[in-house]
């Protein structure tokens, strides 16, 4: 079901959000609670010689001071288990937690954290992530060979991961190509920067801990706590109050176990609320810096014959859930194009800076920004319009992808046509304005996911789901699917969610997967309810099951509308009516990737989302300031289930992409410290920066996809935006700005170099 544009959809959590009544994690206070504060590493790279907590513990009002000695000797991490709750032998970045304090007030906790005496042997901070791969570079993790790691990642010293995409003989094809273009681009790190800084409260009830956390992934947090504290998952319950945004940065297991450990040590509830500065510095989660070297060979007409590439990504100090980044970036260095031969190597290197982790479409905006500017450079070398180059090479149904995946029905070319039409490509523009275009892609993620649907005795329904609502509206849209299956109204359903003791396991608000996977689960659960209702009604109406339909809150006999029984009546009989479901997870498309290394499952793109964005920008050549005036976003995300929700993802995602394009960078000093961990110096886009954004959905009923032929929606909008802006800027500057973000200073410097003709 697609909701008609005219029919307003009011999100079920909306009223409490506009009245201020809704509770976010930091809004909760537990009777008798203490306040937590962390002592972070004082250096980005140092050996710990000694830790003396006595001065902190002696401060009146302090209830507990914990270090590595107080928790199980457990390592954790997604693909490589390389991290402890509390640093032991070494600190490896400025946000490494060395100790945690629980005290009567936040002020006492902060004072106590400062009183902990730590002796260090300071080591050089190795923040040059490219140089860290050199054989002579000192190891950031001396014990790497003993770590438990996914063998496919390719951990070796300071190289955490290595992936390749190899198709045919790219060297031979490149040698024969009529036109060869080489480019090098460098992207800075950036942040998810949700407006809600994270908060956690924990309270033990006997041997079980309840943790309220501002996480996007409650089930991953639950397993993280159980693993790190060496307890059973059944001893951990994670509840997520309203979540104030995440954008990936609240994915993964972060600080829940620290707070649970403090609560256990003090036998009191303990609360942690991050300051904005901590929200920048402490999470092992920021968008990765990246070096992207690309080389493309074409025939004289511009057909892509060969692509070579070398990518180096900054992993920061620890793996977390980001072990797949090298492979994901390699796929994005191919892009949604037909290329005969490919040879791309992608490396994910440790450094002494904040660990990178998933932020909205991890690796894709940077890789796409580089690739799409490179494509424009190729078009210039061939002597055709950049749009023609894309039209010639973009993937269509039946084409073969970089690893042998054969694409089913996709709307890549249609997105290109639509974006150009919306922006008025080719129009006459003032000499300080230009239009840039970029294409991109992103997979849908198939995952197990479950839901229960039950009917209440008043005829209303409750959806009990493990899915997580980060703000996107994905969970808020689930009643649409249940209502459609049961002939009820969406407002007839309440949702019980964000409690690991209630709903089935779910991957959480990550990978744009909620509607894609949990939508299917809700439909399956509602279908079971439907079947039960039909059985009951058949008996009640003395009719054959096949002659019954569900509509307008009742089961009706086809052809005799007066013969019916209401769902409320059936639900009120006392017979429990409960359905459960998970649906069938679509298989990943088949590939032929035996020539590739570092395979972590991303060598094929399930139900790939395709998009083209065209942007019109204006430059002030005196200052280098770039303003985005207009964006046309055409996306194939399959059939759209909830239009207002989907549109909202594009509006927000595009603006995030503009921020990444122009202003957002986390800057590290040579000691690996963030120089701008605040919203004054880390510039998010404001309402007055936001351009007009036009959206068009290319709705292709996608086989092997989510409910009703839908795909994911949330991450792709940010992917092509920086590349489109970059291509527009290049037309105005005369060459491509090779550093992201393309700040006024960098644009001006590029303009200056272009004028002077210097390299």
């Amino acid at each position: 079901m697609t909701i008609a544009d005219s029919q307003p959809f009011i999100r079920p959590d909306g009223k409490e959000k506009v009245t201020g009544a809704g509770r976010y994690t930091a809004d909760l206070n537990l009777t008798g609670q203490l306040y937590a504060k962390f002592r972070y590493a004082d250096h980005s790279h140092a050996r710990i010689l000694s830790i003396d907590t006595a001065p902190a513990a002696a401060l009146p009002g302090v209830f507990a001071v914990l270090t590595w000695r107080d928790v199980p000797a457990v390592l954790y991490g997604g693909y490589v288990q390389d991290r402890r709750l509390f640093a032991k032998e070494k600190v490896r970045w400025e946000g490494d937690v060395v100790a945690a304090v629980a005290a009567r007030t936040p002020e006492i906790a902060a004072e106590a954290a400062g009183l902990i005496e730590i002796q260090y042997e300071v080591l050089p901070a190795q923040i040059d992530f490219e140089a860290n791969a050199a054989a002579e570079a000192p190891l950031i993790h001396e014990q790497w060979a003993e770590y438990e790691a996914d063998e496919s990642v390719g951990l070796a010293g300071n190289i955490l991961g290595h992936s390749s995409v190899v198709k045919g003989d790219a060297d031979a094809a490149m040698a024969k190509a009529a036109i060869v273009v080489k480019s090098r681009y460098v992207a800075d790190a950036s942040q998810g920067a949700p407006i809600e800084p994270r908060a956690i409260s924990a309270e033990w009830h006997g041997d079980k801990v309840t943790i309220w956390s501002s996480t996007q992934v409650p089930f991953a947090a639950r397993s993280g706590v159980a693993h790190a504290l060496d307890i059973a998952e059944s001893q951990v319950r994670i509840i997520v109050p309203l979540l104030g945004g995440g954008f990936g940065s609240k994915c993964d297991f972060h600080f829940e176990a620290h707070i649970a450990a403090l609560a256990r040590a003090t036998q009191r509830p303990v609360k942690l609320v991050f300051s904005r500065r901590e929200e920048f510095l402490a999470p092992d989660h920021r968008r990765e810096g990246m070096i992207i070297e690309l080389e493309t060979g074409t025939d004289p007409a511009g057909r892509l014959l060969a692509r070579r590439g070398r990518l180096v990504l900054d992993k920061g100090a620890y793996c977390g859930e980001g072990g797949f980044f090298a492979q994901m970036a390699a796929m994005h260095a191919c892009g949604p194009y037909k290329i005969d031969t490919i040879n791309i190597d992608s490396y994910l290197n440790y450094s002494n800076s904040q660990p990178s982790g998933s932020v909205r479409a991890p690796t894709a905006p940077q890789a796409c920004w580089a690739l799409e500017q490179h494509m424009d450079e190729v078009a210039t070398a061939v002597g055709i319009d950049p749009v023609e180059l894309r039209r010639l090479n973009i993937i269509e149904e039946g084409d073969v992808g970089p690893t042998g995946q054969i694409f089913e029905a996709i709307g890549a070319k249609e997105t290109l046509t639509a974006a150009l039409e919306m922006i008025g490509y080719g129009q006459e523009l003032p000499d300080d304005e230009a239009i840039g275009v970029a294409c991109g892609w992103w997979p849908s993620f198939g995952s197990a996911s479950g839901a229960y649907v039950k009917l209440n005795s008043d005829g209303s329904g409750t959806i009990i789901t493990g899915a997580m609502e980060s703000g996107t509206g994905a969970v808020m849209g689930l009643p649409l699917l249940a209502a459609q299956t049961l002939g009820m109204k969406p407002e007839d359903f309440s949702i019980l969610y964000q409690d690991t003791d209630a709903g089935p396991w779910d991957m959480g608000s990550s990978g744009s997967q909620t509607t894609f996977n949990n939508g299917r689960a809700v439909i399956a659960a509602a279908t079971e309810v439907r079947s039960k209702l039909l059985d009951m009604a058949a008996e009640e109406l003395e009719a054959h099951r096949d002659d019954l339909v569900l509509a307008e809150g009742a089961v009706r006999v086809k052809g005799s509308p007066e013969s019916h029984v209401t769902i409320a009546h059936l639900a009120g009989t006392g017979e429990p009516i409960l359905g459960k479901g998970s649906g069938v997870v679509p298989d990943s498309p088949e590939v032929d990737a035996s020539t590739c290394v570092g395979r972590l499952g991303l060598e094929s793109f399930l139900a790939p989302q395709l998009m083209t964005q065209a942007v019109r920008v204006k430059i002030d050549r005196a200052t280098g300031v770039v303003q985005v005036l207009e964006v046309a976003a055409a996306h194939d995300s399959g059939v759209i289930v909830n239009k207002i929700g989907a549109d909202g993802q594009v509006y927000g995602g595009v603006l995030m992409g503009i921020g990444q394009a122009l202003t957002e960078a986390t800057v590290f000093d040579e000691e690996g410290r963030q120089r701008n961990p605040d919203l004054l110096h880390y510039k998010l886009q404001t309402a007055s920066d936001a351009p007009e954004i036009q959206i068009r959905w290319i709705e292709i009923d996608t086989p092997n996809a989510g409910p009703n032929g839908s795909k994911g929606v949330g991450e792709p909008p940010s992917v092509p935006t920086p590349g489109a802006v970059g291509n527009a800027v290049a037309k105005l500057v005369g060459r491509h700005v090779d550093r992201l973000p393309m700040t006024a200073e960098r644009v001006w410097n590029t303009l200056d170099a272009a004028r002077a003709g210097t390299p």
Binding site: P8, D13, T19, G244, M656
Partner: protein, 146 residues
């Protein structure tokens, strides 16, 4: 009531009075999630001492509409898709309320400029600006009809 001399207005409203609608997003006046009206004028309450508010009338998001009702702006935010995670919403509504009070018939550019002290990471501001313009248009229609 008595408040500590060093307490911010935000802290007192949230922790002492118990109205948690106003949010702390940055603690340095950058994000606007804590915005309240102080004698009708917007302040970032995270950076305003509670003692400075002595004797003043304070409006938070909880006070925008009486009882269980919604103010037109609150309703319009929901219909136009101006709410996603909702964390910026209380400050944004305060800012928009003051804007329409002082300038009942704003241009889109004026709305965008006036709301630029309130950061939103989810919506791209599109639904928010549309909501404000919608309420302004309805108000204009109504006064034209009077």
């Amino acid at each position: 009531m008595s408040v500590p001399a060093s307490a911010t207005l935000l802290h007192v409203v949230r922790e002492q009075i118990g109205l948690t609608g106003s949010k702390e997003g940055c603690d340095d006046s950058e994000c606007g999630a804590c915005m309240m009206l102080l004698d009708g004028e917007p302040v970032n309450s995270c950076s305003y001492l509670a003692v400075q508010a002595d004797g003043s009338a304070i409006t938070t998001v909880e006070g925008l509409a009486p009882g269980d009702t919604l103010a037109p702006l609150q309703e319009a935010f929901l219909v136009a898709g101006g709410v996603q995670c909702g964390f910026c919403t209380p400050g944004m509504l305060i800012s928009a309320t003051r804007l329409l009070r002082d300038n009942p018939d704003p241009t889109t550019d004026e709305v965008r400029l006036e709301l630029s002290g309130n950061l939103c990471r989810c919506t791209g501001y599109d639904g928010i600006v549309k909501a404000v313009m919608e309420v302004a248009a309805r108000t204009a229609e109504k006064s034209a009809g009077d």
